[in-house]
C-alpha cells in the first residue's frame, strides 16, 4: 500500500505520483482528496486526487513543493512508500448534465479541476476547459485536460503561451462571444477563485469553487478547516471542499491560510539546510 509506482516532474516544483491504493482508487469520486503524512514526525496535509486508475489500483497525486512537507514528499522516489494516505475525503462533486460547464484551473489548481472536467464530460456536458499559469513552463496537464474537456483554452500571466492574461480573461472573452455557459467550476489559488467568482457574478453564472484550507484530521473532528460560507461557519473537510463561490468569504480564507507562515518558514529553512540538493522555486518569503 501507498507505494509510489511512477514519479514525474511536471514543472519546476510540481510533481506527480501514481500511488498504489487499490481500494481508494475504486472508492474515490471527482472532487475528493486525501490526507498524507510522509514520515513519523510529519504533519497531515490534504492533497487532491487528480485522477485514479481502478484497474491498476492507483491514484494520482499532484502537488507543488511550497513548504517542508511537500518538499519532503517530493524527495520520495519510485518504490518508496508514503507512510499514511487516508481518503477519499470530502464530498464528491455534484455531477449532472448541466449543459455547458466551464472548468477553470489556475496553477496547481489544474490538478483538482481535471477529474471534475472528466466526470462532467462523461455526464454529457460540453466542457470548456480554461487552464492557466504564470508562465508557460509552469503550465501542467495540458494534454490530459485536452482529453478531459470538449475544448481547451490556455492563458499565461506573462503571455508566453495562450491568451495573455488570466483564466478569467478567457472566460470573459467567451461569454462576450455569446457562448452560453451553465456552470463555472474554478479551482486554484484563492485570488484566482475569488476573481473567477467575481467574473461569473458579472454574467450571472453559477460558480463552484474548491477550497484548500488548513486541515488536521480531515474527517470532521478538529474544525481547523472552518470557513465562512453565506455568513455561517462550515467545515471544508465534511461540508466541502466545494462551495458556492458567491457565498465564500475569500478574505477570511486567505488570512486563515497564512496562520502558520512563521512556523512554516522555520520548518522549510531547516529542511533546506539539511537537504541542500532540494530547491524550491517559490521559497522566497514575502
Amino acid at each position: 500500500m501507498n507505494e509510489i509506482i511512477t514519479r514525474k516532474v511536471l514543472a519546476e516544483g510540481v510533481k506527480e505520483f501514481a500511488v498504489a491504493a487499490p481500494r481508494l482508487a475504486r472508492a474515490r469520486r471527482a472532487g475528493q482528496f486525501v490526507i498524507v503524512r510522509v514520515n513519523e514526525t510529519g504533519e497531515r496535509i490534504p492533497l487532491t486526487i487528480a485522477d485514479a486508475d481502478p484497474e491498476a489500483g492507483t491514484i494520482t497525486l499532484i502537488f507543488q513543493e511550497v513548504g517542508k512537507s511537500t518538499l519532503l514528499l517530493g524527495t520520495l522516489q519510485e518504490g518508496d512508500r508514503i507512510l499514511d494516505v487516508v481518503g477519499p475525503l470530502g464530498r464528491p462533486t455534484h455531477i449532472e448534465n448541466f449543459g455547458t460547464v466551464a472548468c477553470l484551473g489556475g496553477g496547481i489548481g489544474v490538478a483538482p479541476v481535471h477529474p471534475i472536467a472528466k466526470a462532467m464530460k462523461e455526464a454529457g456536458n460540453h466542457v470548456i476547459g480554461i487552464i492557466g499559469a504564470r508562465t508557460r513552463d509552469l503550465l501542467i496537464m495540458e494534454d490530459r485536460m485536452k482529453a478531459a474537456t470538449s475544448e481547451l483554452h490556455i492563458s499565461t500571466d506573462d503571455g508566453s503561451y495562450g491568451t495573455h492574461g488570466f483564466v478569467t480573461t478567457v472566460l470573459e472573452a467567451l461569454v462576450n462571444e455569446g457562448r452560453k455557459i451553465d456552470l463555472v467550476v474554478a479551482i486554484g489559488p484563492v485570488p484566482m477563485m475569488s476573481a473567477s467568482t467575481k467574473t461569473a457574478a458579472k454574467y450571472n453564472l453559477p460558480c463552484v469553487v474548491s477550497l484548500n484550507s488548513i486541515m488536521v484530521d480531515g474527517t470532521g473532528m478538529c474544525g481547523a478547516c472552518r470557513v465562512t460560507v453565506g455568513g455561517k461557519t462550515r467545515f471544508v473537510c465534511v461540508d466541502g471542499p466545494e462551495f458556492d463561490g458567491y457565498q465564500v468569504d475569500f478574505v477570511e480564507l486567505v488570512k486563515r491560510q497564512r496562520a502558520y507562515l512563521k512556523q512554516e518558514d522555520v520548518a522549510r529553512r531547516q529542511f533546506l539546510e539539511h537537504h541542500p540538493g532540494e530547491r524550491c522555486w517559490e521559497t522566497k518569503v514575502s
Binding site: 472508492a27 481518503g87 477519499p88 488536521v216 474544525g223 481547523a224 465534511v238 486563515r256
Partner: protein, 477 residues
C-alpha cells in the same frame, strides 16, 4: 495501626511549579508500600456497592484484596477479566462519582482510593513486562468489524476476541486510541501507556487497520457484504461546537479538539522536530468548564503561555470538570474567570486574535439542567487581552457514517440511536456506542457501552436469543 486510623493515601506527584512547564505525567503513582497500605483500608463488603458503580463491573474487592496481600500481578489479571484498559481507567475514570462514591468507608472517612489502586496494579504488570494474553477459545467462525479505535471500539474488540471471534478495527487516524491519543494530554495519560494497552488488545488477536475512514473509504454495507457478521460503530466525537459569537474564525481561535490534536497526536509541542505547528501564545483564554477545557488550559501553559485563563459562564459549583482536574489546574497557576461569558473575539488587521469582549454573569433561576441559569449583568462588559482562544464547549456528532448508511437512524442532533441494553441500532447486525451515541461523555462510559455491545453482538452472531427483559413486577404466582 487499627484500620480506621489509616488515612486515604495520596500519590506522590510532580510539584506544580516544575510540572507546569513539562509534559511528563503529573502523579508518579503509588509505591508498593503505599498501595498495600491503601488496600488495607478496604473492609471487603459482602455486598460491595463499589462494583455497582463501575460501568465495566470490575470485581473491585477481589483485586484490592490481592494488592493488600502483595499479589500485584494477580490483581492486574483480576482487573483484566473485566477491563482490557486498566492503566487508562485508573488514570482517567471519574471514580469519585462511580465506584468510590459508593464505598462504605467513605461514609465516615474518605473512600478507598480504588482508581489509584487500579492504576498501580496495571502499571506493575506493564512495567515488569508481565503482560500476557489469556487463552483465546477456538475461532467461532464469525467476524466482527469495529469502526473507531477509541475506548468503545477497543473494549468491543477485546471482549469479542476473548469470546473467539475474529475482529478487525477500522481507524480513521494513523494511530490507535482515538480520544486517548488525540485528546487526553501526555501529562495526564502518557501515550506509551495507551500504546501498551492497545498492544494487549492486539495480543488478543485483534487486527487494526489505520487510515480507514468508514463512510468514505468503505461503507458499513460494504463491510457487511465483505464477510463481517456484525459491525460496531464507535466513531467518537464529531465537529466541535463554537460559541457563535463574532470573531471565531480569527487566527488564534481553536476548538479544543484541534488544539489538543495538534499537541497530543501530532506532537506540535515538539515543533520543529515534529512538523505540525501550533500557536505560540502569551495569553490564552479557554472557554468552557469541563475536563477537556482543563486539558487545553494546562496544555497551553506547557506550550509556554505566560497566562492562561479558564472562562466559564457559571460558578465553580457548576463546573463539569473533575475536582481533581480543577485542583491540578489551579495549582499550576491557571486563572479562573468564573461567571464570565465572552461576547466577541477581536482581531487585528492581519486576522489575528488580539482580545476578547466579555460580560459578567450572575446565577438566576434553575434551568432545564437543574443548574442555576447564568444571566448577564447589564453594564458589566470588559475586555480581556488575549492572543489565543480555545473553545471547549463540546462537540456534535460525526456525520460520515450516518450519511452513508441507509437504515441507520439518528436523533435530531445526529447521534446514532442505539438500544441502552444491547447497543443495537435500527440496522440489523449494526451496533453503536460511545460519544457517537451519547454525545461527549467519558472514556469509561464508552467502555461500558462497548461491553454491552460485545455481549449483544456475540448473541447476534451466534444466533443466541436475546434474554427476556426483566419483568417489571413479580409475576402473580
Amino acid at each position: 495501626m487499627p484500620r480506621e486510623k489509616i488515612p486515604r493515601q495520596k500519590m506522590p506527584e510532580q510539584a506544580p511549579e516544575e510540572r507546569r512547564r513539562n509534559f511528563q505525567e503529573v502523579p508518579y503513582g503509588f509505591t508498593p508500600e503505599l498501595a498495600q497500605l491503601e488496600a488495607s483500608r478496604c473492609i471487603f463488603c459482602k455486598k460491595p456497592k463499589c462494583i455497582e458503580g463501575c460501568p465495566v463491573e470490575i470485581d473491585i474487592p477481589a483485586f484490592v484484596k490481592l494488592i493488600r496481600d502483595g499479589d500485584f500481578l494477580g490483581a492486574a489479571r483480576k482487573l483484566k477479566e473485566a477491563n482490557a484498559l486498566p492503566a487508562i481507567c485508573g488514570r482517567v475514570c471519574p471514580q469519585e462519582e462511580q465506584c468510590e462514591v459508593r464505598c462504605v468507608i467513605g461514609i465516615k472517612d474518605e473512600p478507598v482510593a480504588i482508581g489509584r489502586l487500579e492504576r498501580f496494579a496495571a502499571d506493575f504488570e506493564r512495567l515488569n513486562n508481565l503482560v500476557e494474553a489469556p487463552e483465546i477459545p477456538p475461532w467461532t467462525g464469525k467476524r466482527a468489524a469495529v469502526v473507531g479505535c477509541g475506548p468503545a471500539g477497543l473494549t468491543v474488540a477485546g471482549e469479542l476476541a476473548k469470546l473467539g471471534h475474529k475482529v478487525t478495527i477500522f481507524e480513521a487516524l494513523h494511530q490507535p486510541g482515538g480520544v486517548l491519543m488525540y485528546g487526553i494530554p501526555e501529562f495526564r495519560l502518557p501515550k506509551a501507556i495507551v500504546e501498551a494497552e492497545v498492544d494487549y488488545v492486539k495480543k488478543l488477536g485483534v487486527e487494526i487497520v489505520y487510515n480507514a475512514v468508514v463512510g468514505r473509504y468503505q461503507t458499513v454495507d460494504e463491510l457487511l457484504a465483505e464477510g463481517y457478521d456484525s459491525v460496531f460503530l464507535g466513531t467518537g466525537a464529531g465537529l466541535p461546537y463554537f460559541m457563535n459569537i463574532p470573531g471565531e474564525n480569527l487566527n488564534g481561535v481553536y476548538s479544543a479538539n484541534e488544539y489538543l490534536t495538534r499537541s497530543n497526536l501530532m506532537r506540535a509541542y515538539r515543533f520543529p522536530e515534529f512538523d505540525t505547528p501550533i500557536a505560540v501564545s502569551k495569553k490564552v483564554a479557554v472557554l468552557g468548564g469541563g475536563n477537556v477545557a482543563m486539558d487545553a488550559a494546562r496544555t497551553a501553559l506547557r506550550l509556554g503561555a505566560d497566562e492562561v485563563h479558564i472562562v466559564y459562564r457559571r460558578s465553580r459549583n457548576e463546573m463539569p470538570a473533575r475536582i481533581e482536574e480543577i485542583h491540578h489546574a489551579e495549582e499550576e497557576g491557571i486563572q479562573f474567570q468564573l461567571l464570565t461569558n465572552p461576547t466577541e473575539i477581536l482581531g487585528d488587521d492581519q486576522g489575528w486574535v488580539k482580545g476578547m469582549k466579555c460580560i459578567r454573569m450572575e446565577l438566576g433561576e434553575p434551568d432545564g439542567s437543574g443548574r442555576r441559569r447564568p444571566v448577564p449583568i447589564p453594564g458589566s462588559e470588559f475586555l480581556m487581552e488575549v492572543d489565543t482562544v480555545v473553545v471547549s464547549i463540546g462537540n456534535g456528532a460525526n456525520p460520515l457514517v450516518p450519511q452513508t448508511t441507509p437504515g441507520l437512524e439518528t436523533n435530531k442532533w445526529g447521534n446514532i440511536i442505539a438500544d441502552k441494553n444491547t447497543a443495537a441500532t435500527s440496522k440489523p447486525g449494526v451496533y453503536a456506542g460511545g460519544d457517537i451515541v451519547i454525545g461527549a461523555a467519558t472514556v469509561i462510559l464508552a467502555m461500558g457501552a462497548g461491553k454491552v455491545a460485545a455481549r449483544a453482538m456475540h448473541r447476534y452472531m451466534m444466533g443466541i436469543p436475546e434474554p427476556a427483559p426483566e419483568p417489571e413486577a413479580p409475576p402473580a404466582a
